[in-house]
Amino acid sequence: MSPPGRPKGEYRSAPHEGTPVRPLAGYVFRLYVAGQAMNSAQAVANLNALCRSHLPGRHSIEIVDVFREPGRALADGIFMTPTLIKLAPAPVRRIVGTLNQTPTLLLALGLEAVAA
């Protein structure tokens, strides 16, 4: 999932169906959020909904709150929140925003074929 030793964000415990830690051919997401900001909360909700409908059982999500871990925002170059990084499968992609435009999002994540 995420590199060991790094503290987890508060959204770590958000409900996402108790998926296995690193499923084969699974999707690994990291979502950077800014505290309790409205758009960050929306992004979390949207990501969860998307994973439920398109990737049941084959994803993991790490949520990083930049206000709690500003060092990570600096190190990872996260300046806009919320930012979603798809770490696996390749290629790595960055998606900025509330993740509410589903077609764009699916295209970016390469999920269209799966959805069809």
């Binding site: 950077y32 959020v33 800014a34 505290g35 900001a37 758009n39 960050s40 929306q42 992004a43 949207n46 930049v66 206000f67 871990e69 500003p70 060092g71 925002a73 600096l74 170059g77 996260i78 300046f79 806009m80 929140t81 919320p82 930012t83 992609r93 960055r94 998606i95 900025v96 925003g97 509330t98 993740l99 509410n100 435009q101 764009t104 999002l105 970016a108």
Partner: protein
């Protein structure tokens, strides 16, 4: 109360200073110097400390450089750590581009200057609304690490453009602004304006930023008649006065340099009463002893009226006195100038050789008139110049706007005065009926201390060069138009002959001179003749006097002889008589003598 007493005490110890301070220091807005030459003067010390400044400008207007220089100055000279947030170019490229200015960014980067690459990745996908929480968090982390007090956001519009609507852009900028104020960092935000406009109302989407921030500076880059012009203007500055006019600036060897027209150093410059020879003795006489040291001299005239020659002879005279001199030629190559001046007996080559004289070809300089000024002042400082010749200035105004050319002329004369440099400029006046009718477009005529005008006077089918002193501040000067003669031996001013209210020149003068010469010769001859005649007469009389003297002497000798003869005869006779009486013994000798004499 305590501070007040301190102030009063200071006031007592420094009475001159106390009068100037009207407000307690706390009320005056604190400023963060930018280290940009001239800008700190315009703004009264720099950008507002702990507040936000907005830089607005089109592409290539120098926003990034301004912002970076502000950070570098803080980090290097004031030891204030800074953060550069690059939205437009990658931080590495910003550093690479700034390498030419010798700021040792690599060195500073290690210690006090952090670069954050906030350049959005090209493959970034955007889906819905977002905010800059991540940026603020990252800045927070960076500030904690380096204790940065200065932050630059370069081209923040790049990130804002990703936001879906106007309301969210506004919201994010306010968020940033609030954050900056809360952290009391001195921030500079750069923002692009429309490509062209100088009037610099920021592009509509970001217009509100101007109202939000405490200080707005507009940078312009225009091309007028093919010549690039840069200027900047402070649009607003809360809580502080500032120079409201646009000031030209240029990107020099060490960064941005803003030209200030009214150099503050001017007031304290000592005024010299020392005279400097113009190189032409008779011109010095006309000017009551020469130019003043540190004066600005303007020589105007049509093409070929010997402006260059007159300035060249000044340079030669300066070099002969051992003063370091610089000759800036806009028209010709230095070697040509030296050769051409040698033809009238002005030998500059030896001074070029011994490095007293530095010849500069300004044809190699391109850019706005401000660039010229900067290059010339830099070169002059390098050469430690005391006398400076610029030949001609007119090329200068061709390369610029009339208005800014005036500013440049003003700055040039101010600079020369402040540096105590005697400045001789020539200026071409073509197609001008008279110097006063048209006026010199570069307006240096108003700024010059001495204005010498050269013109062709057409008289009796000839063109002759006439020289007149139109003005010369602080010196009595001749009001006469004099003829300027160029010869193998140099420049001379001819004697002036007036006939019927006209000054005679050329052949007419020559004729007049000739006639006068003939008259003088004739008079001289007749005088000599008369003298000789009188001499002869005197000699004759003297001769006569001599012969008469001889005659007188002869007569005197004769008379003496005569007297002698008479006396001795008498004696003989009386002796004979006494003897006879003795012999006769008849009378007593006394009686006999008595009777003898009776």
């Amino acid at each position: 109360m305590a501070t007040r007493r301190v102030q009063v005490e200071q006031g007592l110890s420094q009475p001159g200073r106390a009068r100037r301070v009207r407000l307690p220091p706390a009320a005056a807005i604190a400023k963060a110097p930018t280290g940009i030459r001239g800008f700190d003067g315009i703004s009264g010390g720099g950008v507002p400390l702990g507040r936000t400044t907005l830089l607005v400008g089109g592409p290539g207007s120098g926003k990034t450089l301004f912002a970076l220089q502000f950070l570098v100055h803080g980090a290097r000279d004031d030891h204030v750590p800074g953060i550069f947030v690059a939205f437009e170019e990658s931080a590495r490229r910003v550093v690479a581009n700034a390498a030419t200015f010798g700021w040792q960014l690599a060195d500073l980067k290690k210690k006090r200057l952090a670069f954050i690459d906030a350049h959005p990745a090209p493959d970034l996908v955007q889906s819905g609304d977002f905010d800059i929480g991540g940026l603020l968090a990252a800045l927070e982390a960076q500030m904690r690490a380096t204790k940065a007090r200065r932050i630059v956001f370069d081209a923040i519009d790049v990130m804002l453009a990703l936001l879906p609507d106007e309301a969210s852009r506004r919201r994010e900028l306010y968020r940033l602004h609030e954050w900056l104020l809360a952290h009391e960092v001195t921030a500079v935000i750069t923002l692009q304006s429309g490509a062209d406009e100088s009037q610099a109302t920021v592009q509509q989407p970001f217009a509100f930023v101007q109202f939000m921030v405490d200080c707005v500076v507009i940078l312009n880059h225009r091309v007028v008649q093919g010549v690039s012009h840069r200027d900047l203007r402070v649009l607003k500055y809360r809580g502080s006065g500032f120079d409201e006019n646009a000031s030209p600036f240029l990107i020099g060897a060490s960064g941005l340099e803003v030209a200030i027209a009214r150099s503050p150093g001017r007031a304290g410059v000592p005024v010299s009463g020392e005279r400097v020879s113009s190189g032409v003795a008779r011109l010095d006489t006309m000017l009551g002893g020469g130019y003043y040291r540190g004066a600005s001299v303007l020589i105007t005239g049509s093409p070929g009226t010997a402006k260059t020659t007159l300035s060249g002879i000044f340079a030669e005279a300066a070099c002969a006195r051992g003063e370091r001199t610089m000759f800036v030629s806009f028209d010709s190559e230095p070697a040509e100038v030296v050769r051409n001046l040698a033809s009238v007996g002005i030998r500059l080559d030896r001074y070029v050789k011994n490095k007293t004289l530095r010849m500069v070809s300004a044809r190699l300089i391109t850019g706005s008139e401000q660039t010229y000024l900067d290059r010339i002042t830099t070169l002059a400082a390098e050469h430690d110049t005391r006398c400076l010749v610029i030949d001609p200035m007119s090329t200068w105004s061709r390369a610029g706007l009339e208005l800014s050319a005036y500013g440049v002329a003003e700055r040039l004369t101010d600079w020369a005065k402040a540096a105590g440099i005697t400045l001789v400029c020539t200026r071409l006046l073509d197609e001008m009926p008279g110097p006063l009718a048209g006026g010199a477009p570069l307006h240096i005529s108003a700024l010059a201390d001495t204005w010498i005008h050269l013109e062709y006077l057409v008289q009796a089918g000839e063109r002759n060069r006439g020289l007149s002193v139109i003005k010369s501040r602080g010196t009595a000067h001749s009001n006469q138009v004099r003829e300027l003669i160029l010869g193998d031996a140099g420049v001379t001013l001819a004697d002036a002959y007036t006939a019927g209210g006209e000054v005679l020149m050329g052949t007419l003068r020559w004729e007049k001179e000739r006639a006068e010469h003939l008259a003088t010769e004739t008079a001289e001859a007749s005088r000599t003749r008369r003298h000789l005649r009188l001499d002869a007469e005197a000699a004759e009389l003297e001769e006569q006097l001599k012969s008469l003297q001889v005659q007188i002497d002869a007569k005197r000798a004769e008379m003496a002889l005569l007297a002698h003869a008479t006396h001795s005869g008498e004696e003989n006779r009386s002796q004979g008589r006494s003897r006879m009486r003795e012999l006769r013994g008849a009378d007593s000798p006394t009686a006999g003598r008595k009777s003898g004499t009776a």
